[in-house]
């Protein structure tokens, strides 16, 4: 059994790696498709005038060699986590991204957990009170949040809670100038996390709530629910013991698929709240036209999604006994 699971995971991992390989190749050709000299494209706005740096890039990526050789060099570099150097920060792209990774993981992780818990809860309540006022209220709220642009919501939230009410910080991950340690530091980061995580999470809360509600209602029409009712079970217990678990399966699938969107959303939230993660890094790279860094962030965030999907797959086959390994 456990060997089967390992084999399954291995199979999935191989698939994920293949996806990443394709993305790497895609990145490679994208740089070449961009207008202008690839070295200048890679170097970014700031580095494009530094002839020494450009030469260094040309050598590192073999830019004066034939295309297939360049591809080989590129893939080989990627395999060694070598994505080149950013001119402005004078740092390897990979290190820079990894430096920012924890902040993004914290933000997206918090938003993910928050939205999943809140969304599923709201969806369950709405389904349990189908066609009554809590259902309508939740449905309307979900619709509104589903329609609201994330970045705008983030701005309005910071306007309200930071500027007017002054309850929460609207900027960065830690208080500037303070050097907290231990629990104080955790608390400080926590306070800074509230607004970004909440605004990023709200959109996905809406997504999960709608999905859970639909799934619950559909599941509650299945035959085995009738069986449970015929046992003389209380409706609330039927909902909890029989409907919920079955209804959550599609939500798990969706949650995995949404991982990519969560990272996309992080670009916007991190930009608004100056959260020092890879999303913010992406925005900076855009600003400085540092395409090598941009593609690096893109690649790493894709890798995160692959990993996320792998985790979802594993969770799925643990939750659903019908999945044959």
């Amino acid at each position: 059994m456990s060997i089967k699971i390992l084999l399954y995971i291995a199979g999935r991992a191989v698939k994920g790696l293949l996806v990443l390989l394709v993305i790497a190749v895609f990145n490679f050709f994208l740089i070449r498709a961009a207008p202008g000299d690839p070295a200048q494209v890679m170097a970014g706005e700031a580095g494009a005038t530094d002839e020494v740096f450009l030469q260094q890039l040309r050598e590192q990526f073999g830019l004066d060699q034939p295309l297939y050789y360049q591809l080989w060099v590129y893939i080989n570099n990627m395999l060694h986590f070598d994505m080149g150097i950013t001119y402005r920060q004078q740092m390897p792209v990979f290190d820079l991204i990894m430096d920012r990774m924890p902040a993004t993981l914290l933000l997206t992780g918090a938003a993910f957990v928050l939205s999943l818990l809140l969304g599923v809860l709201a969806g369950v309540v709405a389904a349990a009170k189908h066609r009554k006022w809590p259902d309508s209220a939740i449905t309307v709220a979900a619709l509104v949040f589903y329609a609201t642009p994330l970045f705008w919501l983030a701005m309005m939230a910071s306007l309200l809670f930071s500027v007017y009410l002054d309850w929460l910080p609207s900027f960065g991950m830690q208080t500037v100038g303070e050097d907290f340690a231990g629990w104080d530091k955790v608390r400080d980061i926590g306070i800074h996390l509230v607004l970004p995580a909440a605004t990023l999470g709200l959109f996905f809360t809406a997504v999960y709530a709608r999905m859970t509600r639909t799934s619950m209602i559909e599941t509650s029409r299945l035959d085995f629910v009738k069986t449970a009712k015929a046992k003389g079970m209380k409706p609330s217990r039927v909902l909890y013991r029989h409907v919920l678990r079955n209804a959550l399966l599609p939500v798990v699938t969706l949650a995995g698929l949404q991982a990519g969107q969560l990272i996309g959303g992080a670009v916007l939230t991190e930009t608004v709240f100056a959260w020092p993660g890879i999303g913010r890094l992406m925005f900076d790279a855009l600003f400085q036209r540092d395409y090598n860094l941009l593609l690096g962030v893109f690649f790493i965030s894709s890798a995160m999604v692959v990993l996320f999907n792998l985790i979802t797959d594993v969770i799925y086959c643990v939750v659903d006994p019908r999945i044959e390994l």
């Binding site: 705008w152 701005m155 309005m156 910071s158 306007l159 996309g264 893109f298």
Partner: protein
Amino acid sequence: MNIIKTLSQNKVAMVGFAVLVMLILVAVLGPYVYEGTPWKMVQRPFIPPFENSSYLLGTDILGRDVLAGLIYGTRISLLVSFVSTVIALLIGIPLGAYAGYFGGWVDEVLMRFTEIFQTVPSFALAIVLVAIFEPSVYSITGAIALVSWPPVARLVRGEFLRLRNQEYVLAAKLNGQSNRNIILKEILPNSLSPIIVLASLMVATAILLESSLAFLGLGDPEIMSWGYMIGSSRTVIRQAWWLSFIPGVAIAVTVLALNLLGEGLNDALNPKLSGKRES
């Protein structure tokens, strides 16, 4: 037809529909009412809304007319989102149809391909594409289309997988009908309803994507858009919150209207969830 009747009885969907029609009218007729360009500085900056009767919604940081910007923004939002959705459908439908209908290795290859696109974080991909190909209406529309088609392909594939073994399709095979005929005349018409519903939701998502790109500075520099209006007034949010507030409301209302219409279509076309069950 029946569907239109059912839909017209759904008040919420009709509200969405009405708002959408109004927005389309604004997009089409707006430029005739507000001649010239929304980029023109017309007055002193930072006039709040409802203060100056000729600039109803006030002016922005550079003294440009907010209402004019809003009207021109409607155009670009609707144009980009509709066109990108159509392109996404044109990619997704044939791909999904072939994969679902032929199955086997065709399906395997096409679905692996789709999976890659689905794995890649779509917004990040859109950013990369627009950035590298320089922001323009074309690159934005193309990028949005390129990140939006995978769900279409998956949906259509699912429908085709379900319908290809329906007995009327088998009967068409026994009739000696060509695959092309079977796909176009037997299966596709019967899988249209979920595609229509998905398309209406895709337009909504595309509007959000377009505005997000513009917010990050990846809008067409020639064209005024809602996302750009919010992005450019981000730094002055403390002084003039309405400059970011108003276009945001416009986006939310548009997307909401589309979602309501989509929900209504879903209820009318797929009565499974609408609660009216046969006994």
